[in-house]
Point group: C2
Chain length 254, copies 2
DNA sequence: ACCTGAACACCGTTCAAGT
DNA sequence: ACCTGAACACCGTTCAAGT
């Protein structure tokens, strides 16, 4: 194990002969970790490797970071820095919502394993808060009651994270035997008639088409589904019978 | 500790003085792993510990299981065995859908870490297929066009898994500093006015209430949102009356 | 065939000791 | 104060050797 590996992979390497090590800092550590995550995926990310990339030992990182878990959280928030929440007043709430969530989705998909990491890390950094704030604003514009919007934000972000995680990892495995494709394609028509009949539909559609469709599902559902305990104030009077938002025809049974 | 006898935690322990080791088998390995997962969570699950519980070395497991990943997949499917897909013809599709998904959700929530595991494991075992098959049937009854139902199943299962994972891990941390509760509760009113204003709403609601609400959102959205490339006109336009999913006589292209 | 101890190449985290 | 080598207690996986 050569300790002096010229394997730095960071900006400041050495000026002349000597090894001019940059001073450690939270920021540099997080940057190196994100680099590593991007290049090697979640499994390739370790404190030891981050330390090695910074030409030090793993123990040194503990002066700046509590934990591997904390590093994960910092990593996630830094990755979310790229999400654009600026308002474009030209567009309606719906278009802006879609733009924002696509940006969110793309940020999580940028590095393999980032979305996976997001599924096991609570996103509560400044960038996550900025995104939530923006979402609340958009849902408000959409006329969603406040208490409902609070839950809706959770639902939406959870879903975007989940779908990014699912797809990031579908990409990890080119086509081993266990893949959905193989299983669904070979399913027995007697045992699972519906899966068999729909096997092509189940696998069809580009990620972006599915994403767009799912978003539409969520938005439509959210706009029409008040929280059970929502104030009966202006929009909804849902106490026992759930009546669709505003005044739709109340015929919808089943 | 000290829940069971010595250390075995499985049926066949020792008959007489000697240590009568049960023969290994896939089934026994998976059972031991599920035990371990239930008792110690995902982080406490390892091939070495499973082997130790079965009084052997980790290497021995490789005769029955390809991989840790494969063990995960087997584990997940075994956990899904408890999901009830039997039809109760007394109830409408909606009630049955809710029952099924609650059962699914509960199965994933039974062991800590199981839902997390599910997020990084493709569920394609017989029990997963059985659940998908049932979901397709229910969506068909709901009048959802077939191609749309195929995508909807993905959306629904992904969501149930994700919310189970989120909550299973919210339970892991009682209340360290980074928790959502702490962050959201202390957010600055100037920087994040909307989060601040809604901070109580954001945290309110029991898991089951949120789950039920989310499900309603999804179902309403799905019923009303055909796939972009779905056959137009024919069946479910937007919210017309549901057809009793009976007359399959008309030409069912695709 | 089935099983296994030992080894290999890794982990996160702690700590006494260095500067 | 900051940094570190070494150690501790773990991992998944492989393999030659045992029965």
């Amino acid at each position: 194990m050569g300790t002096r590996d010229p394997f730095k992979a960071s900006e400041v390497v050495s000026r002349r002969g000597g090894a001019a090590k940059q001073p450690l800092s939270r920021d540099i550590i997080v940057a190196a970790a994100l680099d590593l995550l991007t290049q090697e995926g979640l499994d390739g990310l370790s404190l030891r490797k981050v330390a090695a990339a910074l030409d030090t030992g793993a123990a040194s990182l503990y002066a700046y970071v509590e934990d591997l878990q904390e590093l994960h959280a910092l990593l996630l928030d830094r990755a979310l820095a790229g999400v654009d929440t600026s308002r474009n007043p030209q567009q309606g709430w719906r278009a802006r919502l879609e733009t924002l969530l696509e940006s969110y989705y793309r940020a999580l998909s940028r590095s393999p394993g980032l979305a996976q990491l997001a599924m096991s890390t609570i996103a509560a950094g400044p960038n996550a808060l900025r995104i939530i704030e923006a979402l609340l604003g958009l849902l408000g514009e959409a006329g969603v009651e406040q208490a409902t919007a609070a839950w809706a934000v959770d639902l939406i972000t959870l879903y975007v994270t989940a779908i990014a995680a699912e797809q990031s990892q579908r990409r990890r495995q080119p086509d081993p035997l266990g893949t959905i494709t193989q299983v669904v394609g070979a399913v027995s028509a007697e045992e699972y008639p519906r899966i068999h009949a729909l096997r092509h539909h189940l696998l069809s559609g580009s990620p972006v088409d599915r994403f767009t469709w799912s978003l539409e599902v969520l938005v439509k559902g959210i706009v029409q589904t008040p929280r059970p305990d929502a104030p009966a104030g202006k929009a909804v009077a849902s106490r026992k019978r759930m009546t669709p938002a505003r005044n739709r025809s109340s015929s919808k049974k089943l």
